[in-house]
Structures are given as C-alpha cells and as structure tokens.
Symmetry: C2
Subunit: 98 residues, 2 copies
C-alpha cells in the first residue's frame, strides 16, 4: 500500500507545505495525488494530512505525526533493498544473452 513514489509524495508535501504544490512538483495532477492519498488512508485506516483551506497562501497541508513515522519506517525498511536486488540481478542475469 505504500511505495517509493508514495513516500516521495508525502515528503514533498511536507517540504512544500501544500498538496497542490507537491503535485505540481511531482508532475502529477492534483486530482491524482489526492486520490492516492485517500487510498493509503483508507487502506491503513489513518489520517495522513493536517489540512487547512483558506488563509495565508490559500491554505496548507502538513503531515500528521503518524504519516511522518510511516515514511520514516518505510525508508528504513527499503534502504539497501534495491541495492541487494540489483546485485542479485547482476549475479543471476549478468550474462543473459539479450
């Protein structure tokens, strides 16, 4: 339910302080980004964003504590994995004919 891309999205929201800006930064429609977030929230049964519409800058979004923890854990989970995969891939398919 989480993925590298989704973790990126969450981090970008945190960095930009807005879902709209995060979506633009990641070059994905706002509609889609929003939908993805809802998906995660639904699957995991938790709220990811602390949002406010209106006000300074039009509004803002920040991550909830749970979301921040989630991303942290996910990052720790995946670090080293892709390296292992490509290493194994090299070992098994390095001599692949095509």
């Amino acid at each position: 339910m989480l993925s590298d891309w989704r973790a990126d999205l969450l981090e970008t929201i945190e960095r930009t302080g807005s879902l709209a800006r995060a979506a633009e930064t990641m070059e994905v429609p706002y509609r889609t980004a929003w939908y993805k977030l809802k998906e995660i929230e639904e699957q995991l049964g938790l709220r990811l964003l602390e949002t406010q519409s209106g006000g300074l800058g039009g509004g803002r979004s920040t991550l909830t504590v749970e979301a921040r923890q989630l991303v942290q854990r996910f990052r720790r989970l995946t670090v080293g994995v892709s390296e292992l995969v490509s290493q194994r891939f090299q070992a098994e398919f390095g001599d692949w004919p095509r």
Copy 2:
C-alpha cells in the same frame, strides 16, 4: 517483465503439462494466461512453451529450456530478497498498531 505470479504460472504449466490446466489451477481464465505468456515472450524475445495441440489428452504444453532457466534464475534472484524484506518489515512494522 517477470514476476512472482508469472513464475508461478510457468511452474504450474510444467507441473500440469498443460496451459489449460495450469490456468484452471491458478483460477485465471485460459485467455488471460495465454495473453500473459505472449506478453513475456514478446518482451524477452524468446519462446517459453513447447506446445502440441491434439493427441493424447487433447494436447500438452511444456516449458522450453530457456523458460526453465528463466524461472530458476528468477527464483534464486528473489529468494534472499523477500527474506530480507520480511525481516526488515518485522523490524520496522512489527509493533504497528493496526
């Protein structure tokens, strides 16, 4: 282009000796299984099946040597990886509230 599920499919074909039976075993329509195989063959540019229609039992399918090697390598590639992942997952999310 390969995946756990696809490797399963190939192994099931080998085990049952028939694409039709493999599809039934894996509870996926014959049409779909066939389509998936074509997809892999096309992407990798190799033949996966040694087929015969008609004859004893109506016909049969067995894996080509290349297909068998492919599955073997893929299994070796993924075995250590999934172990690492589930170990890491346990470490990071073992105490996850839900």
